[in-house]
Amino acid sequence: MSLKRGSLAFYDWIERRLGLFKPMWTAASHPTPANNASWWYVFGSAATVLLLFQVVTGILLAFVYSPSANEAWSSLGLLNRAIPLGWYLRALHGWGSDFMVAIVLIHLAQVFLFGSYKFPRELTWIVGVLLLLLTLGMAFTGQVMRFDQDAYWGLGIGASIVSRVPWIGAPLVHLLLGGPIIGGATLTRFFALHVFILPGLLLLGVGVHIWMTLYHGVSDWPMPGRIVRKSTYEREYHELTEKTGIPFVPDAAWKDAVFAAAIILAVMACAFFFGPFGPTGTPDPTIIQTVPKPDFFFLWIYALLAFLPPAIETPFMLVVPVLVIAAMLVLPLVASEGERHWARRPIAVLSLAVIAVTLAIFTHLGTYTPWSPIMDAWSSAPIPPALLHNRTPLERQGALVLEDKQCRNCHSIGGSGGQRGPALDTVASRMTQDEIIHQVLQGGGNMPAYGNALSPAETAALVHFLTTLRGNDVAPAIDASRKVTNTDHGIKTQ
């Protein structure tokens, strides 16, 4: 008993002088409409917890990490192998970053779907969009901190995109890289961004974001027909709180706490079982036998950049991101009133679905990059023996030409080889011999011309082999006009 009284006296002494606990408790236990104490409302707090988790693990990594182009890669090796539990810290930080981006995106989708960005929470949404951009900025600069091959060429891609800005492209590239090349100055400035500038802005922004959430209260559960009007919403929200209010802590917050714990557990499990990300090879640009790839959450951009036609690529890269970000920022201003429930907002639901499916498809494409030539397919993917049976020597020679001239880097046969061009298994059922010759020698349709790289003999052999590729004895392609011209010819001669 005396211990309890003693600690109470201690608390009183502190609080009398600090004056912080009571207002904090008042804020935490404010009444919130019972209908938003839902499992759908847990993502924002989980994102905050992950941010703090990233700050702590990041600081611990900074104990060892050396932000110098000379040493960064080696210091990651040190963390992975020599420092006790260094690998685990790297894994926690890496997986924590993936989880954070994912949770922030889910939080954004949920808020959009629930119409929670409408009056009076427009600015909360706008700050949230900036927080999303900062989170993605942290993910990209974090990838640079892992100063390996992927980081190097990722920076090269960043510089190449920036270089497309008209007039000030070169100064922007130099500003991004901190000098003429990717090097020590690049790493130190990305370190400053990743460790000081972006986290500072992120913590500040999250503070403002949470303040606004407390100030306006957590948005109530949307109901069809309950229209948000600037003139009435706050009164209605207040009445709802009066009628159904429960203290946020503990009655609603326990779900946040459980979800946050589950997420942190999941991060720990991923870190423990899957380990840290990389580093891949040393950031030595003379090692060109590499296939650079960005981290998971940038794969969709990587995929998108493969599909844009060259002529619109630069305008697309420079204009579309600005439009997308502007649209997200302006959204709550143009749609600040009206229905919140998804059942009454079909366009919003459809937009979200289209965006989500698009991102998922591009991300999926980014995982296996069908547009990339497979650089060693020509020497590693054999021609299926069935395609060589009963072939003439010339046709078999053609199969050799097909292998030797790296055709397989872009064309698959029997399921192996690149996917940049069409599979050749049944090419002769689609193209006549003349068309194949034309296509091989002159290229076109995104295929290089091989006129210079093939001798006439090689061309003849290759084309003869290709004309045997018809699948299960499908009829060969026919030039429909040939019959007509032959007939004409016949009539004339007779």
Binding site: T186, V291, L308, G451
Partner: protein, 227 residues
Amino acid sequence: MTVPNPHGPQSSQSPEAASSGAHPQSPAEAVASQPSVNLESAQHTRRAFLFKLSVALNAAVGIVLAVPLVGYFLGPAMRRSSTTGGWVPLGPLDKFPIGQTRIVEFRNPLATFDDGDTANTSAWVRRVSAQQFQVFAVNCAHLGCPVRWFPESRLFLCPCHGGAYYEDGTRASGPPERGLFEYRYRIDRNSLIIHAGDMPTLATQASCSEKNRPLVQITKPESEDDA
């Protein structure tokens, strides 16, 4: 200490009133709401004036402080790319057989003490004839990934998005808008020397002479360099 209002701003007249509540008024509000005419007021105008003056003083100091800071921040961008770089020897000419394309490695002349491996650079050297060379940057003209040379099909292929270039560096297919970047070169006695510096991108090209190549090119047959 302002406590978040649990009932939102609706619980009182306006958000401003809600946030300030019954707490002591801030100095600014006190100024606005107490236009009483007395001795204090006279002193107050003097103090308010002095305060404004101090704000102006700090603004001036801030600007004087900010200019060099911004200059420091923008320092790397101020450098003219045409003046950066230097001439790098790539080795004796007989390292490069006529008609073939070989990779070379060199240290970027702009490397500083802490650039480490990143200042190592590769380039593709194509010897067209005894005295004629083409030195290509490995960086794809699309997004800078390292292109690889395939002598059998006489193509440079990019692993990232499938850009392809012919042996003379012109665009063959894929997303690049133009051919490979070329370094300026000269031959000094028996050695090949190139001018290198900036990482080649569309804005900071290794050589500025090849800017206006058409988008799609089909190479003419060249007899002299068929090896």
